[in-house]
Structures are given as C-alpha cells and as structure tokens.
Amino acid sequence: MTEMQPMARQRAGDADPGTPPPDDEPIGLDAFNAALKAKVKGTRKPLVLWDRLKVLLALSAIFAFFVAKTTDDYPLAPVSDAIDITASDKRWFIWLMTFECLRQLHFIVCEHWAGYHEFWGNRIFAGVNRRVARINDWNRYRLGRVMKWLSILAVFSVISADIQDVPAYRGLPELLSSIIDGLPTIIRLLFFVMFGMFQFIAIFWFLSKGGIDTYFPEDIKTRFTDVWGQDHVLDRIKENVVFIEDPDSIEDKGGYVPAGILLWGPPGTGKTLIAEAVAGETKRPFVFVDPGAFINMFMGVGVLKVKSLFRRVRKLAVRYGGVIVFFDEADSLGNRGMVAPGGFNHTHPFGPGSPGVGPSPWADRPLCNGLSYLSESSASAVWRADLDARFRGADHDAPPDKQRRIMMGGMGGGGMGTLQSLLTEMSGLKKPRGFMNRVVRRVLGLRPKPPPRYRLLVMMATNMPDALDPALLRPGRIDRMYRVGYPSKEGRVRTYEGYFSRIRHELNDEQIEKLAVMTPYATGALIKDMVNEALIIAIRDDRDTVCWNDVITARHLKRLGPSENIDYVERERHAIALHEACHAIAFYRLAGDVTIDLATIEKGMGYLGMVSAVKIDEHFSNWKSDYEVDIMVSLASLVGEKYFYDGDNSSGVSADLRGATTIAAMMEGYWGMGSTISSHAVSLEIGQTGRPQGTERDPLRGSLGQRIEEDLRALYDRTRKLIIENRYEILAVTHALETHKTLAGEDIAAIIDGVEGPMIDGRRYHTDEFRAMAEEYHAAAVVAHRTHGSTDEGLPPLDPPDLEIAAAAVPAPATAT
C-alpha cells in the first residue's frame, strides 16, 4: 500500500498537462473544493465514489465470474451453495476483498482524522512517498501503465487458470496455448470477417480514388511567363515560391512558410494557370483536386478522399521536398452554415445580363434587358432585391431573416464531414504519423516521434469566395488571399498580342489597343475564345488570315449570342427600336464615365432589345448623381414611349421601372441619398416603423413609398425634358437600329453627333430631309400602332445607303453561327 501526499499529487498533475491525471484525482469544481478543504484540515484528499469503489467492483465482477463458473460446474447447486463452494475453493480471493475493504476504511479514516493521516503519511509511508515524488511525471505515468497492465494480465491469468483448472501461474501460458491451438479456427473466422469487410473496403477504396490527379515536375511546362495580365498577383505569388523553395530563409528568422493561398476572382482570369505556373516554377509535384472530387453518392467517401489525398500529399512532400495542392473551384467544398452563394454575376466581362450569364431574373417574358445599361452597383442592388423577393415568395408571411434561411446551411458540395475532415487535415500536419509511431510506441510507453516538416502549399481558386467556410480561410490554413481580377488594359493588350501571335492576322498595334479598350472586362479565357472565334469566321470565309472585321464580328457574336432571327412586325420593330433609342440617347447624354458598347433590337435569349455599356475608367464608388443617371436611363424608355405614342406605353418598360424603383428605394432608404437621413434597414431591424421587427411587408405603401415616388417623379420630369430636347436624335437612332438591328457604341455616338462613325456616317441623319422622312415614318408607325395595321411604304431607306463597310462589319450574328 502506497500513499502519495496530496501536494505531491497536485504537483504531479500540474507539471505535465499532457499526462493523464492519476486515477484518484477528483475532477470538477466540487472535487477541487473538497481537495482545498482537505489541504487546510490536514486530512487526506477525499476520494470520489468511483475511485473508492472501482477495485472492489472489479474484484466483485471477478468473483461473480467464479460463481457463474461454479454454477456451471455444479448444475445441482443453487447460487447460495455456488457462492459457498467458490468462497471455499478460493479463500485467497476473499482475503483480497477483505484487504481492499480495509484499505478503503483506512482511506476514509484518513479523510476525516488529520492525526491518523499524519501518522501513516509522514511516518509509515514517508520514505515511499519521498521516492514516488522524486520520479518525474513521464516515468510515473509509464510506471502506472506498467502496473495497470500487470494487474490486467494477473486478472486474465487467474480467470484463465480457473477455466482450465490449472494453477494461477499457468493461466496465461495455458491461455496462450489455447489461443495457438485455436489459431486455425480463429484465422478461418477472421478470413470470413475480413472477406466481408474487404468488399466494403474495396468499394470505398475505389470510390475514394477519383478526382485527384498528380502531375510531376517534368509534366508541368507552365511558367510565370505564360501568365499574362496578372503581374500584380504574380509578384505576390513569387514571394511564396521563394519561401517554399528556400523555407530556411523565413524559418530561421522565426517565421513560417505561408501554407495556403486563395486565388479568387471572376472566372477565366487565370487562377488555375497561376497555380500551374507556381508548380512549374518550383519544380514540385502538382496535385490537382477536381471540383467534383468531393461530391459523392455515399456518406463518408468524401472524408476518405480527403484522408487519401493528404496521405498522398505527405508522401510526395517528403519525397520531393514539397508539394503544391490545388483545389479548383474551391467553393464546391461548401460551407457549414453561411448564406449560400447567390448567382450574382454582375461582374461578367460584358456586363450583367449578358448572354451566357443568364437572362434577367424577372424576365418571365422577353422585355428590354434592364440590367445591361445600369452601373455595376445599381445592377447589383436590383439583382439582390429581385433574388430576395423571389425567395420570400415561398413564404410571404415569414420574417425576412427566416425567409432567407431557405438558402442556409451546407450548400455546395463536400458535406457529410468532408469539409471538417479537410479542415482537420490542413491544420493537423504536425500530428505524429504512422501506426508503429503512434500506437506501438505509446503502448511501449515511448513518446511518439514528431512528424517530418512537410513543405506543403495549398492553393485554392474560386470565383465565389463568400461561399467558402470561414474556418477554411483562417490564417494557418489559408494565409494569403489574392484577388485575380480582370486584367488591366495593358494586361489585355498583352493577352491579345499573345493569342494573336499564334495565328495569322492583319491587326496592327493600334487596333489591338482599341480592342483592349472595347473589352474592358475581358479575361484571358474570353480573349482566347474571341480570337479563336475570329479565326473560325475567317476560315468560314476561306481565309487563313484574321482581319479587323472578323474580330468585331466575333465580339458581337460573343457579346450577344446567336440571334433568334425573328422578324418583328413593322410597328413593333419601330416601337422596340424607339424604346432602345431612348435608352441610348439618355445614356449618351447623361453618363459621363461610361460609354455605350452597343445597342440592338435583335431578339435574344430573354430580351427584345438592349443597350449595354462599358466603363471608360475603373472606379469603385458610386454617387447619388451616378444613381440618378441610372434611374433616368431606366425611365427614358417609359418617357419615350409615352412621349412618342401620345401617352401610350408597352409592358416592355416593366423591367426598367423595376430597376428604377429599386435603385430609388435603395437611395432613399439605405444609401442616404434621399430626403431623410435615417436608414430604413435599421428601422426594420429595431422596429421603429411601428410594426414588429422585420414584418414590414410593403414599404412602398408607407412614407418611404411616397418619398420614392416623389424622387422618381422628379427624375421622370428631367428625363422627359431630355427626351423632348433630343427628339430628332432619337428618331435617327431608331431608324439606324431598324435598318441595321445592331449598332456599335461609336456609331450611335456618330449618329447622335452627326459625324462619321466607324461603320455609319452620322452626318446623313442630320439633314432636313431625313428629319422630315423620319417624322413621317414615325407618324405612320403610330397610326399603324393604333389601328393594328402597317405603314404603307415600310421603313424608308437612306439615300445614298450607309457606308459599304457597315453591311460587312455588322452581319446578323444568327447567320454567322
């Protein structure tokens, strides 16, 4: 019987937090208070009930086993006789239990009588206690484990001996002998079990193998010089390359190699290319993780894939001195509860609502494409308002926060523990590895060896960074985040030059630069695609050299998509052209830092016509005046239709009105651009509107609605004035649109200003003859509109016709495909 001083035990527990606490260490606040009280009184620290009873319970369990065996041996004996027989056969066991009872009684007395405790602790066991206290924590822990194992083996030996009717000391050898005798049977059973397990293991093994490709240094030819237009990102990335090639340069100074990089930005901007270039420059293996790798049919396969991936990565890191893991479209990993990514694509290179981006969300029937001429910020606000309204549509009575929960939680891929597993692996690289190291060494009482230092660079790419789990982005997992945005003008010029250098072409430097200006948000992928489309057009024309017209045609085709090639009836064509001309004129007259990209009345996917714009300069903030311009451009269609059709207007203005109203509401209620100062968002949150929190369902009917209406009315009047002042210019653009269906921004400007444009001579629209002809034609169109008939002569042609170049330069996209 050994007894450790409470203080010594306390010290032992404090010294090594990693060491399991001694068995009789009370846990919890009550136990702590009890120990403190005992220390003050000089008594023994009280044992918790479990510690007091566990040995007795273990002995009782063994005795119960013996009794059960006696009952089996003596079928005629009742339990009472079995107990008697057992006790009589195993007197030593009764003595052992008696001894344990006495030991616990001794402890109980020690816990209540300081003098008794002092006598035993400081006199009888003083020497033993001193020796135990001198043993360091780790050795004490190992000693404890050895004692524990010896006790377990002794119990096994006794039980085995009893079963086999041999002396206790032969219990273990006999047990071993029995096991060896039964080994063939055991192996046979194991084989059946393993065979069953193997089928599952094999299935999961195969399932966990797809979606991960490893490229070795000799396979990767991409270098930084292959990445064009992203110099500012490359400069930063090169820093990381230096560190992964020479980790000592930062680790010797007390730092660590950044282990994770997130590249985020619009699609096609070269994120994957950059990652490949990093692998190519560092001459390290490149592990490419497919976006769909973690989308699995069965639960748990994703977790297996993550573990398998990191096992492979660690091996490669050790073998090659480093490895780069690239997760493409990292948003597919999903998150664990954030608002799911909205499909907000207003940053599409050619503006929101572009073909390929998807139709305007409220375009249940084809309308004017209202988003195309708005600023990014306005388009964003309109998009979000519309999405919000759509999701609320499912449950109008639910408060806004609850309605939004339609999109909450676990969206995306991953799921079922995959993301959690990835997080663990990304931050668990310092754990000891290997069965022998972790388990066998620990069983032997040895500390596991630390793992080698893995040089691992995790790179992720996404165009939806909001969809990533915040835990994934914390420093230590992702240390650096770089935005891979649209290339600058210089970058675009270089990219165009790069792709044009691969084909035969007639473009000069000036044209390439102009092309870069005309495509402000073009990414590397888009430029590559456009150049290729131009080449296809040239080949279709039996040429192998791309000319300027091929490029412009390709751009229009890519910009608008294939036309539906529908011919409107004459009066509808005129109305649509007039509608778009009003937008174009308002835009041209009002917008300062944005220019018209093109206007069209060719029916496309989800729209009848559209006017789109491109930025002249990059800017990142928007002002009240900018939003007012957006609203006026939106309202121009309504104003124009009412003005030119004597108060009548089409439903085609609905999208424009929705956009204008949304922007006006945001200005008045949220952006501080209205007649009041308070934010409507705060009013909703704290219920100052007089309604319960978040339940205002129709703000447009309240005071906010009145203010919005007043703002829109004022802007409407300004727009009307503008439309009236530009009556002839509108009719001119209408005529040109009806004639050519699609007009480039420069040509629209030429028509409005009466100058020669690249394709159209605008001077011919500023003659008295044209004005008279246009007025006459418009009057006939209005009459046809009222009578649902048609004009007598149709669209009057200009005499002489437009420049020959116009017909060649702006072909109908539908025919091109």
Binding site: L56, Y74, P75, S80, D84, M97
Partner: protein
C-alpha cells in the same frame, strides 16, 4: 461495499450439500453435507487386481464413489466397509464393451440392480420394481429389496440402474442399510434419488 461484505460473510459458510458428480460420465447427485465421501481414487486403490490400464480406462470412462453419514472406509481388497445402521450410497458407472453396447435389456438391468432369481421364494421382500424416469433419454429401472443378512438382520437394497441413450455405459446408484435405517432415512434417501441428474457427457 455492503454487497462485498455480504459476499465475504457468505463465503465463510459451508455448502448445504455435498455434490457428487462426474462430468465425463454425465452423472450428478447431491448428498447432505454431513455425509462422508470415499472418493474414486481411494476406491480404485482398494480394488484388487486392477491393472494400470484398466484403472486409467475406468477413470476416463467410468466412475465409482461411495458415501455415508456413518463411518465408512475402503479396505484394500474388500468391499466398502460401513455401518449398516447408516445408509451407504454407492455409485458405479462402468463402460460397456463393444458386444454389450446397444444390447442391455431391462431384465438385465433389473438383474444388475439386484438378482433375485436365485433366491428362494419368500426369503425376500421386493417392494419396488419398475421403470423410473431419468433426464435426457436415459433408460432406468429401480428395484428395492429387503432380505436378511447372515446375521438375520433385514437389510434393504434400493438401486437405480440406467443406461445412456447410446448404451455406452451402465449406471448403478444404490443405497443400502438395515430395513429400520431405510425407513428412518426414507426422506433423505428419497432426496438423494430425486437429485439424480443424468446427461450425455
């Protein structure tokens, strides 16, 4: 803790019965704990002309044991010596040889229990003679006879003879003592026979 104390206290007591059993032959019965038992080794030691091989075979396949509340001993070369005023329980299980297996009739079993065929009529009283049910398909008969010994004291022999379902062994459980003793200890003897349990080993 109290449970453990109960176990400890209980452990200091003695079993209420002495259990006579041998799993190898599948025979179990109990006698009161104050009975004296002469174990198999002692009895075999006393058996004359028993070769080591025969002894080994008997130990493996058969069983012999005797018990009595009175004095009992196993003198070398003789039968078990006991006070006839106390019941003497003798159990003998002997393996049957190949020719005997499967061919033990009830009459043979009755004769093995107590052969009264050679006794003159009226010299004995047969008061039990018939089948008796045993566990697990064992066939058994019970025969009880009272007849005077050489001193003219009436002695009662009560025996159950059984065979296992495969007729590999012949079991004999017999109690003998004076007729008066048999009457006096009828309950105890009945309890012993009632506790008899057989099963295939």
């Amino acid at each position: 803790m109290p449970l453990v104390l109960v176990v400890i206290v209980t452990g200091c007591g003695e079993p209420s019965h002495e259990y006579l059993q041998k799993k190898e032959v599948g025979a179990y019965l109990k006698v009161p704990s104050d009975w004296h038992v002469v174990d198999e080794a002692t009895l075999l030691d006393a058996t004359p002309n028993l070769s080591p091989i025969a002894r080994f075979e008997f130990e493996e396949l058969g069983w012999v044991v005797a018990a009595s509340p009175g004095s009992i001993s196993a003198p070398a070369g003789g039968p078990v010596d006991s006070d006839t005023n106390f019941p003497l329980l003798q159990i003998t299980v002997q393996p049957l040889n190949r020719t005997e297996r499967g061919g033990v009739s009830l009459n043979q079993m009755r004769s093995y229990a107590f052969n009264i065929g050679s006794l003159p009529a009226g010299s004995y009283e047969l008061f039990i003679d018939g089948d008796t049910p045993l566990d697990n398909g064992f066939r058994a008969i019970r025969r009880a006879v009272t007849l005077p010994n050489a001193s003219g004291v009436p002695i009662t022999f009560d025996a159950i003879v059984a065979t296992d379902p495969d007729t590999l062994r012949l079991y004999k459980f017999s109690v003998s003592c004076t007729a008066q003793c048999y009457v006096d200890n009828a309950d105890e003897i009945a309890e012993i026979f009632d506790s008899l349990h057989t099963e295939e080993p």
